[in-house]
């Protein structure tokens, strides 16, 4: 084999690219991270928030593999908020506001300290291929003509593919404002005949915080407590600031309506699909006209900037309408817009062309991660970067990729959704996407995944030590909780339980909502040393245990059907009983296992049996 400059080249220094490069390097692969400029690596291009519902789970899972995003977020967090605090912990979402500059600095600091990782400044003009059918990727060619060789390339180019910006009647070509779109590379990918589609996303105007009348608005302080995004961050270290809440109102809605005919969304200029869940403000007014107002969160972008991100009014209306709309809201009467909002329309690869390693099936060694796959959000991007980076590194080492599935991680839920269902709107993680979310909690990500990470060799020494200590502490507590305690003893210890003489383990007693682990001190003397998050995790394991037991049969089915491999070359048209629609979807998604085929939308149990029979006949 040709001696390459690197094992893996990652194109793009956003959240996906950084995680991909970092995990590959952690796994001992010689890795190059190629970015237009060194400075743009680790930039938060949109909303300065990290985490949230579903998204917070992804952040914790990436962190469980010793990824960057959670620690960088902690290093930059100026506002912490646990969403869904009042609901079951499995749907609680940790979220922070991050200072852009501090965040970027933290990412740079971690990448600089990473062995095996080289940052290359330059624009990738083209991919290089070798092999009989020119399907094996062998490196990249930069715009200055220089070449870098590698056995795998990870595309993490974000919206740079064919990006087009819209604001009222204005049109611009590019990804983010002020940056070039990677049009050459886009052409090559288009020529490669990959299935492509177009999506749109939007961003709100940025406001000068000095022109907002904060005193007139409801304040939203940072959460109490000292929880952090990464358990490896011992404490919050940055001064915490307030966010505030305002609302749109009838006047603002009228202003928006007056500009609808000039919005590219309604004039027909953009026909790509936007998201169902975070529509632009003009979409909201159009679709839900009966509402008298929509909440807008005013989120400061950092400690040393005056920019404020008004979360909830993403828009591509003309600038004059944006200004009038903003000024119609309470506290915003004198607000100045620094950068008007805009919509971006961009190409993405139909992720059904990817396998579960996020590798393009049609090529060898070419991976895609992040927005290029039709997702939205830093967290989704980072998570895909981790998956693609791990998979590429496993391929270099000739190892199997980790078996992540819908029952052990949101990471797998996302990859499975993307590669089987494709996207019809920018894909955003939601807890509702995870069937087994009772076991996939943001606060048990380490228990679920760090062990897998250690086997892969992507966990650094600090986290290995931390994890070992946590596991031994957990084992000790679990041992203590196996003690059988009769109800009269429980009552003696001050718990209010039925005096029916029933005897069960302390773990089983924890099932009752009025029995807390911290009150079990009389039975568990060693517990004092354990961290709060560990105690919470154990308590929730106990509380959800009856539900988890009920899922066991499903779990067995899921994993049994995951064992039935379908192979890459099934002729679905040869299977009688499949509708044309099913055949089409199955051909696009190419599910790798029977279980995955069952999750392709529209595939019925009858069809699944037919597929299984077909596969077994082929094997016979």
């Amino acid at each position: 084999m040709e001696k390459h400059d690197f094992d893996i080249i990652v194109i793009g220094g956003g959240h996906a690219g950084c995680e991909a490069a970092a995990v590959a390097a952690r796994m001992g692969c010689r890795t190059a991270l190629v970015s237009f400029t060194r400075d743009s690596i680790g930039a938060m291009s949109c909303n300065p928030a990290i985490g949230g519902l579903g998204k917070g789970h992804l952040v914790r899972e990436v962190d469980a593999f010793d990824g960057l995003i959670a620690r960088a977020a902690d290093a930059a967090a100026i506002h912490y908020r646990m969403l869904n605090q009042s609901k079951g912990s499995a749907v609680q979402g940790p979220r922070v506001q991050a200072d852009r500059n501090l965040y970027k600095a933290a990412i740079h600091h971690m990448l600089d300290a990473q062995d095996n990782l080289t940052i290359v400044e330059g624009e990738v003009a083209a991919l290089r291929f070798t092999g009989d059918s020119s399907r094996q990727v062998s490196g990249v060619i930069l715009a200055d003509g220089s070449e870098i060789s590698a056995s795998a390339v990870i595309l993490a180019t974000g919206t740079f593919l064919g990006g087009k910006l819209y604001r009222g009647e204005e049109r611009m070509v590019g990804g983010r404002t002020g940056e070039n779109a990677a049009t050459l590379l886009a052409e090559q990918l288009r020529d490669a005949d990959l299935p492509m589609a177009r999506l749109k996303t939007g961003t709100p105007p940025r406001i000068d915080g000095r022109t907002i009348n904060w005193a007139a608005l409801e304040e939203q302080p940072s959460d109490d407590g000292d929880w952090t995004m990464s358990p490896l961050t011992p404490h919050r270290s940055i001064p915490q600031i307030f966010c505030a809440i305002t609302r749109t109102n009838a006047e603002a809605h009228n202003i928006i309506r007056s500009g609808l005919d000039r919005s590219p969304l309604f004039s027909g200029a953009i026909d790509a699909e936007g998201p169902r869940y975070c529509p632009s403000i003009e979409d909201k007014i159009f679709r839900f006209g009966d509402r008298d107002g929509h909440q807008v969160f005013l989120e400061p972008e950092g400690l040393d900037t005056h920019l404020v991100y008004p979360n909830g009014i993403s828009t591509s209306l003309p600038t004059d309408i944006q200004v009038a709309m903003v000024r119609a809201m309470q506290g915003m009467e004198n607000a100045e817009i620094v950068v008007p909002g805009y919509a971006v329309e961009y190409d993405h690869i139909d992720p059904r062309a990817l396998d579960r390693n996020l590798a393009i099936r049609e090529f060898e060694g070419l991976y895609c991660a992040g927005q290029i796959n039709g997702t939205t959000g830093y967290e989704e991007a980072a998570a895909q970067g981790l998956i693609a980076g791990m998979a590429a590194a496993c391929a270099i080492h000739g190892r199997d990729t980790p078996r992540l599935d819908r029952a052990n991680s949101y990471l797998a839920v996302m990859v499975d959704d993307l590669t089987l269902q494709g996207v019809t709107e920018p894909y955003r993680m939601l807890t509702a996407r995870a069937e087994y979310r009772l076991r996939l909690r943001a606060n048990n990500a380490s228990s679920r995944l760090t062990g897998i990470g250690m086997e892969l060799g992507c966990i650094g020494a600090d986290r290995r030590d931390w994890f070992a200590a946590r596991e031994s502490s957990k084992a000790e507590i679990m041992h203590g909780l196996s003690r059988q305690i009769a109800s009269d003893k429980m009552i003696e210890a001050g718990f209010s339980v039925k005096a029916d003489g029933a005897k069960q383990s302390l773990f089983d007693w924890l099932r009752f909502p009025n029995i807390a682990l911290k009150d079990m001190q009389p039975f568990l003397p060693l517990m004092g040393d354990a961290s709060d998050d560990l105690l919470v995790e154990i308590e929730e394991d106990a509380r959800y245990a009856p539900y988890l037991v009920r899922q066991d049969a499903e779990m067995r089915d899921l994993r049994a059907n995951e064992q039935i491999e379908l192979g890459d070359h099934i002729n679905y048209r040869a299977i009688t009983g499949l509708s044309n629609e099913m055949v089409e979807r199955l051909e696009k998604a190419r599910p790798e296992t029977l279980s995955a085929a069952g999750r392709v939308r529209g595939v019925t149990p009858a069809a699944l049996v037919a597929i299984m029979v077909h596969v077994k006949r082929l094997a016979a």
Partner: protein, 431 residues
């Protein structure tokens, strides 16, 4: 795979009957038909053939035969049908002959339907409907089976599924979006009310008699002391079934079950005579024990003994028999006074039996659920019941997920995406 075997089975109900239809499905069906009948008839046309034992040359029957080449057949395979004269001897001889042929074997229960299903000839709900149709012996059964086939059951499931998707969407909106505003607050109570309304609708279906009842028939047990006229009455009621009735004499120590249809409604008459007449303590004891079990399973008990001394049963009818002579048990409050010998008032008994079907059997224009469907619906009902006790949206979401999974088991699959469609179609979800 076992699908390689060619299978055969009697598909027309147990002999004796006027005609017995033997079906053969699989790659060897054509060969088998040729071996028996000499040549393949034109596809899809009934032809008369002399069926001959391929080895001995003995004539088995003169039969109508049909030939349906696959894959456009009920099972998706080559299919042959032999319409035999319905005597037991003929059927048994043909069965023996087929079983001896290479590559053929008797089908196991439901195998034809399963093959149709595997070959993509029907979806699961249709498959179950057809399965019932194939074993249906009466008009009433046929109607109910047709109703499932034409998708009435599917429609009902579909509408429950929609309702549950909507509830799920609301719960998920609460979980994933309430912190982002734009979701109405305090909807928990309304949600519980709706869950409970839906549960009632499903329970109403569960409370209906099952499809098995339709297939098995209404169980009528004749009970009374020896010589109270049970055997005469059962013989008279089932006289069409002379062949089977004549079997009774030889097997008096067993429970005798005689299936009969009145006006298309299936009944199974059971005579407890043999059980009570037996002599010797041990057998008597077993007999009483079994009689009790039979009566426990009965839908209707015809009591021919002393008035008011019959077994406890919610539908016990006092019968005063032998009114043509001196009734052994004269009754002041008899439901029916009849004579099996003269036939007096037998028509009244039959009319009363037929009218009982309206309570005991699912109405033919509704759908009846079978055991498997019942199990899934019960799971839905259980999940909806649990919701009443829960305050945590997360756990309510889990119960609704289980309810969706159970409905999926009945019909097809719901994907999370369907729920998301419902979620986003209904709410303005802000960010």
């Amino acid at each position: 795979m076992a699908a390689q075997d060619t299978i055969f089975a009697l598909s027309s109900g147990q002999p004796p009957a006027a005609i017995a239809v033997m079906r053969i499905s699989g790659t060897q069906a054509g060969a088998a038909l040729q071996a028996l009948g000499g040549s393949l008839p034109a596809p899809r046309q009934a032809s008369l053939r002399q069926l001959v034992h391929p080895e001995t040359g003995a004539t088995l029957d003169h039969a109508l035969v049909l030939w349906f080449p696959g894959p456009d057949t009920a099972t998706g395979e080559d299919l042959a049908e032999l319409h035999l004269h319905g005597g037991r001897a003929v059927v048994r001889a043909v069965e023996t002959c087929l079983a001896d042929m290479h590559g053929l074997r008797a089908a196991i229960a439901g195998e034809f339907t399963r093959r149709a299903f595997l070959n993509g000839r029907m979806d699961l709900a249709e498959a179950e409907g057809l399965g019932d149709l194939l074993t249906a012996e009466s008009e009433l059964q046929r109607q109910a089976a047709m109703s499932a086939l034409s998708g009435r059951f599917s429609q009902a499931i579909e509408s429950w599924r929609e309702d549950i998707l909507k509830l799920s969407a609301r719960v998920e909106a609460e979980l994933d979006f309430s912190d982002e505003d734009d979701v109405a607050a305090g909807a928990l109570d309304a949600l519980k009310v709706e869950a409970s309304t839906m549960r009632s609708a499903i329970d109403a279906v569960l409370d209906q008699p099952s499809a098995e009842k339709l297939k098995e028939g209404i169980r009528v047990v004749l009970a009374g002391p020896p010589n109270s006229g049970k055997s005469t009455l059962i013989n008279r009621l089932t006289e069409k079934e002379a062949a089977i009735v004549s079997d009774i004499a030889g097997t008096t120590r067993d429970i005798i079950e005689v299936p009969v249809a009145f006006q298309g409604i299936p009944f199974v008459f059971t005579d407890t005579a043999g059980l009570r007449d037996a002599e010797g303590d041990a057998i008597e004891k077993i007999g009483i024990e079994r009689a009790r079990t039979v009566i426990g399973e009965a839908d209707i008990v015809l009591w021919l003994g002393a008035e008011g001394e019959g077994p406890q049963h919610p539908m016990l009818w006092e019968i005063e028999a032998q009114v043509d002579g001196t009734p052994p048990y004269a009754k002041s409050g008899a439901d029916i006074r009849l004579s099996a010998r003269t036939g007096e008032n037998l028509d009244r008994l039959i009319a009363k039996l037929v009218s009982s079907a309206s309570v005991l059997l699912p109405p033919p224009d509704s759908f009846a659920v079978n055991q498997r469907q019942r199990m899934h619906l019960l799971n839905v009902s259980t999940a909806l019941t649990s919701i009443a006790e829960l305050e945590d949206y997360l756990l309510i979401g889990e119960e609704l997920r289980l309810a969706r999974a159970a409905l999926d088991g009945l019909l097809g699959s719901t994907h999370t995406e369907d729920m998301l469609d419902a979620l986003f179609g209904r709410f303005c979800i802000g960010k």
